[in-house]
Amino acid sequence: MSFVPGQPVIAVVERIEIKKLRHGDNLILGFSIGGGIDQDPGQNPFSEDKTDKGIYVTRISQGGPADEAGLKMGDKIMQVNGWDMTVVTHDEARKKLTKKKEDVVRLLVTRKTLEEAVKHSKGKYPRP
């Protein structure tokens, strides 16, 4: 999942749709995020490349909407409802995920096992 500056980022992603749950006055998704371009990437325990400033899933509450949709801890979120999540600040990411008017978020997430699965089945990386 490392990137070369200036080149487009290539990743194998999984599409996950999470329905927000109404909890009192709030709509919650049931997971926590970490990372962002204003954060220290070296402290991210889930990233392979310690200069990766993307948004990662750091915690999933058991039985919550995210858990049921298949989100796993350590996933890197690439897009939220079409909005890019690879070069955003932490607060912007939070805002994109918690828009009050939307009750469904469609995420594109990537993880290491996805790439390995594709490699396994196809024998090489998908061509750009």
Partner: protein, 537 residues
């Protein structure tokens, strides 16, 4: 309850007070009865300590049972001690004799050799110049301008050489070392050989053939003087400069109480290193006080006295050995005895540590109390004296005192407190009454405060601060396994034995230091904030 309390000035250190008259003091302090103290101090008298051998062992006092009021109830000896000669006086006179006459043949021998060599060296160029004029004046070419210019050069170089030799070699000798100073001997031999070879050449080529070229002769003399200056440069480098760069770190420990210091020395021979260390010892180490060691000795004696070995198996204790077989048996017996003693001592429940702890706490408390009393007494004493202003001089000429009299006037009021403090800290043999009064006069003259006056009694100072008989400067022995003219090496160990203690010296080489460089660009100091937040969505 008030017994007659006399303050006899003699008895502090008998014999010391021989010269000065103390009658006035005696009459002045006759009324010093201090009865307010609740302890059983009945008189103010300071009694005569037994004649202490100056060469060390002042623990002859037997201070195992330290009772500060010991001897305080006795009165002092009066008139007889004024004219008697105590043992200290005899030793002191012998020492003065030694210092003044100084029958040291070896030193004079080296001195005369040095003077002869110096004369030879200085007169040689002059002889070279003068001899042709004396021996064959008519054949000699006249001296032109260049030649006469060379005369000036010879004169000034000789003058410089004279001053340089005087500065380097004609200094008062600091010490008498056991072996000859190798470098200096080598240099003397070198100079001698050099001068002799020049004379040989001169004798053969110039005197025999009666050379007429005077300018050549003068140039020859100039070359001799130049070479002598270069030898002097060699002497400076070998004798003075070589040992300046520190090369060894020596650790000096006193064997009796463990005082340790570290010094940096250059490349020296063992005897010169020992000399440097002794000179540092006199400045840095606190004075050796044998009275402080008596406590540990008594504890050690108690350890040994507690156990006694009996042989119950019927074997006779080892008599005079009759042959090797008996020897081995005796040795084995002694060995097993000592092992049994060690085992028994280890098993014995020893409470001596408890005693030590409480004794030390008590001693500490006592010292502090005495010190408080002393400080107050001295401060009060100093308030009785003030420096006289110029205007007052005309008014009352009768009460004017010089510093010594002023010291004598205020000394009695602090004498007792000071004496008790010195007894408690076991320093009383280091300070005589005369020296205390001298110090007091010195402090008064220089406008020092009571605290400044007391400082030399509260902490033990370096040995040179005390009187001459504590110096023992002539009784050092260098004990070394390697030859003392060898140079210092890593791991050299030698001993410097004085009369009742010795200094153990170990040397370590200062390591070779390899340094590397790292350049930091001043613009490279940049910082970012470290944030790591986690948000639940």
């Amino acid at each position: 309850m008030d017994t007659e309390s006399t303050y006899s000035g003699y008895s502090y250190y008998s014999g010391r007070s021989r010269g000065s008259h103390r009658h006035g003091e005696r009459s002045r302090d006759r009324h010093k009865s201090r009865s307010k103290d609740s302890r059983s101090e009945k008189s103010v008298t300071i009694n005569t300590p037994p004649a202490e051998p100056l060469l060390g062992d002042s623990s002859v006092r037997g201070e195992q049972v330290q009772d500060d009021n010991w001897g305080e109830t006795t009165t002092a000896v009066t008139g007889t001690s004024e004219h008697s000669l105590s043992q200290e006086d005899i030793v002191r006179i012998t020492k003065d004799l030694e210092d003044s006459v100084g029958l040291d043949c070896r030193r004079y021998f080296t001195r005369t050799l040095a003077v002869i060599l110096g004369l030879l060296v200085f007169l040689t160029p002059l002889a070279f110049l003068v001899l042709p004029h004396l021996l064959w004046p008519e054949k000699l070419q006249s001296c032109g301008t260049a030649c006469e210019g060379l005369f000036i050069s010879v004169a000034f170089k000789l003058l410089i050489l004279l001053l340089a030799v005087w500065a380097l070699f004609f200094r008062p000798a600091r010490a008498g070392l056991p072996r000859v100073f190798v470098f200096r001997a080598l240099l003397a031999v070198l100079v001698l050989l050099f001068v002799v070879s020049y004379w040989l050449f001169y004798g053969v080529r110039i005197l025999d053939s009666q050379d007429e070229n005077y300018q050549g002769i003068v140039q020859y003399a100039v070359s001799l003087v130049d070479a002598l200056l270069f030898i002097h440069y060699l002497a400076i480098v070998l004798l003075e400069l070589r040992q300046l760069q520190p090369c060894f770190s020596v650790c000096v420990a006193r064997s009796t109480d463990g005082e340790t210091r570290h010094y940096n020395l250059g490349q020296l021979s063992i005897q010169r290193a020992a000399l440097a260390i002794i000179e540092h010892y006199y400045c840095d180490f606190p004075v050796h006080n044998p009275a402080l060691l008596s406590a540990s000795k008594s504890r050690a004696a108690k350890h040994l006295a507690g156990l006694k070995v009996y042989n119950v198996d019927g074997e006779f204790p080892a008599g005079p050995a009759e042959g090797p077989g008996n020897n081995a048996a005796a040795a084995g017996l002694a060995h097993s005895q000592s092992r049994a003693m060690i085992a028994a001592a280890a098993r014995r429940r020893d409470t001596s540590h408890n005693e030590l702890y409480y004794e030390e706490a008590e001693h500490e408390r006592r010292v502090r109390k005495r010190k408080a009393r002393l400080v107050v007494a001295v401060e009060e004493a100093f308030t009785h004296i003030k420096r006289m202003q110029e205007e007052e001089q005309k008014k009352s000429p009768g009460d004017v005192m010089d510093p010594r009299e002023a010291a004598q006037a205020i000394f009695p009021s602090m004498a007792r407190a000071l004496q008790k403090y010195l007894r408690t800290t076991k320093q009383q043999h280091c300070h005589s009454m005369e020296s205390i009064q001298q110090h007091l006069a010195f402090c008064i003259t220089n406008n020092m405060t009571p605290k400044a006056f007391l400082e030399s009694y509260l902490t033990p100072g370096p040995t040179l601060q005390y009187s001459r008989n504590h110096w023992l400067a002539r009784q050092w022995t260098l004990i070394s396994e390697a030859s003392v003219t060898n140079s210092l090496k890593d791991g050299t160990i030698f001993l410097l034995k004085c009369v009742d203690f010795s200094l153990v010296v170990t040397s370590k080489k200062i390591p070779y230091i390899q340094m590397s460089e790292e350049y930091i660009d001043p613009k490279s100091h940049k910082f970012v904030l470290r944030l790591q937040s986690e948000t639940s969505v």
